[in-house]
């Protein structure tokens, strides 16, 4: 939907704001650069992710929820496109590490997670939680940057929920997770078949979405031809020729397909050097620090270090700020804030109804617990796991789908 009269006030006040913003972003870059070897890279990754999420308003929660709520799949189709791109890119990287899957080993940096009752329970809780809170974990991060007070409340819930899960993790580990298989499709059927099956599942999902969309009558509006007024020959100078593209990038909202595809490309680029994107491990660390402050220690989490980037013990050492994912998560918030500021749509958004804060908080707890259980959120255990050719990604996705269905039933009652 194009906006009729976009307001971009190119005045001194706006220019000063943008200049100040750039100075701030660059300053943090140099601070990060001095603090550790790769921190500044993660600062840039976080900023890019936040920027992309804000511009495209990409929301995994609405991707699932809107299928039920309005029989609309625009967002989910975008997510499918992103998954398709990432499947190809991730496979290129993984097949470089393991040209011949030997049936046992899995790429240690890929998001290949255990498949079991915890994946399903985690996905269900997460699915309900994200719909209740109106956004998933990454969604809450970027909405925090856009000025939504409810998302800050959701984040508190996420930290608490995740903290509670960590207290009970060792029980879950004994109960099920330690015996759950780390099923990596190339080990079972080889790369070609794994890619073929993954892409086919995306196609089936796409067809199912179209089926859902056509289940409701659609009014096709008559085409309205706009009469262009004031057509006159105008000389544009060199700078003015950049306005259309700048407006497209910085002012108009991007479509979900563009947003998810760019996010997938960022994910592939990050994976070429580090591990795929994931935001929950860092939130776990925040919870552990806050818990320590209140005198509740987080136990040593059994087995967790075997999953990429998740070793909490290791993360609890050294300078609190000198961690890659600290810069990434805060980068997402700041990146989204920057995107909103540039588009002149930042605003403190304070909900007037108390119930929204309650549902955001409870939804956050559900997401925090669920993400801990499934060892990842819609990014780590879904958007990075399916492209890692992990079975866990699909099981988690299906559980999210069911959870979102339950969530949609609940929220329509909370008007």
């Amino acid at each position: 939907m194009t906006i009729q009269n976009p307001i971009l006030p190119i005045n001194n006040r706006y220019s000063a704001k943008i200049l100040l913003l750039i100075v701030f972003l660059v300053t943090i870059y140099f601070i990060a650069n001095n603090l550790g070897q790769t921190l500044q890279i993660f600062w840039l990754i976080g900023l890019s992710v936040g920027f992309v999420l804000q511009r495209s308003r990409l929301c995994f929660a609405s991707g699932f929820r809107d299928l039920f709520l309005m029989k609309q799949g625009t967002t989910m189709k975008g997510i499918l496109a992103g998954l398709g791109i990432a499947i190809i890119g991730f496979t290129m990287i993984m097949s470089g590490i393991y040209p011949e899957p030997n049936g046992v080993s899995i790429p240690s940096t890929g998001n290949i997670l255990p498949v079991g009752i915890a994946t399903i329970a985690g996905g269900l809780l997460f699915g309900v939680g994200m719909v209740l809170a109106g956004g998933c974990v990454s969604g809450s991060l970027y909405r925090m940057g856009e000025g939504y007070l409810t998302s800050w409340v959701a984040m508190i819930g996420i930290i608490i929920g995740n903290f509670i899960l960590n207290q009970t993790w060792n029980w879950w580990w004994q109960f099920s997770i330690n015996e759950d298989p780390l099923t990596w499709l190339p080990n079972e059927i080889g790369y070609s078949a794994a890619i073929f099956i993954s892409l086919s599942l995306l196609l089936i999902a796409y067809i199912a979405i179209v089926k859902i969309e056509t289940s409701v009558p659609t009014f096709i509006p008559p085409t309205i031809t706009k009469v262009q007024k004031n057509i006159s020959e105008q000389k544009t100078n060199f700078i003015q020729n950049f306005y259309p593209i700048l407006t497209k990038i910085f002012k108009d909202g991007w479509s979900p397909v563009i947003g998810a595809s760019v996010l997938a490309i960022i994910n592939i680029i990050v994976f070429t050097r580090f591990a795929p994107l994931g935001v929950v491990g860092e939130i776990s660390r925040w919870g552990a620090y806050i818990g320590d402050f209140f005198g509740i220690a987080t136990p040593s989490l059994k087995g967790i270090s075997s999953f990429g980037g998740c070793s909490l013990d290791e993360m609890m050492t050294g300078n609190f700020f000198a961690h890659n994912h600290f810069f990434m998560n805060t980068g997402i918030i700041v990146g989204s804030f920057s995107a909103a500021l540039i588009a002149n749509e930042f605003k403190l958004r304070i909900s007037k109804s108390f119930i929204r804060y309650i549902q955001s908080f409870i939804g956050g707890i559900g997401m925090g617990y669920g993400a801990g259980l499934a060892i990842g959120c819609t990014i780590g255990a879904f958007f990075s796991a399916i492209p890692s050719l992990a079975l866990s990604g699909w099981v988690f996705a299906f559980s999210l789908f069911i959870g979102a269905f339950i969530g949609s039933k609940i929220i329509t009652k909370l008007m």
């Binding site: 939907m1 194009t2 906006i3 308003r57 609309q72 009014f219 509006p221 304070i350």
Partner: protein
């Protein structure tokens, strides 16, 4: 005679701006030719118009202030 209504959903989070608009449009008791929805929720700009079009309305989105938009829905 045309009657103009305003629906202020500022401060509401996803998916309530859209649900509330749909509810208004679907309510047979409401007699109106056009309705102006005021929102500060960017995703609503991509969820409300398709839903309104489905129901037979033309949409026009205007930016009314920083981070605020009015969506004018008119019966076709």
């Amino acid at each position: 005679m045309s009657t103009k209504h305003t629906l202020d959903v500022r401060g509401e989070i996803c998916p309530y701006p859209m649900i509330k608009t749909n509810k208004f449009l679907d309510n047979k008791k409401n007699h109106f030719e056009s309705i102006e929805v005021i929102t500060d929720h960017p995703p609503a700009l991509s969820t409300i118009p398709p839903e309104a079009i489905k129901r037979g309305f033309a949409c026009e989105v205007n930016e009314s202030a920083a981070g605020e938009w009015t969506i004018l829905l008119t019966k076709i």
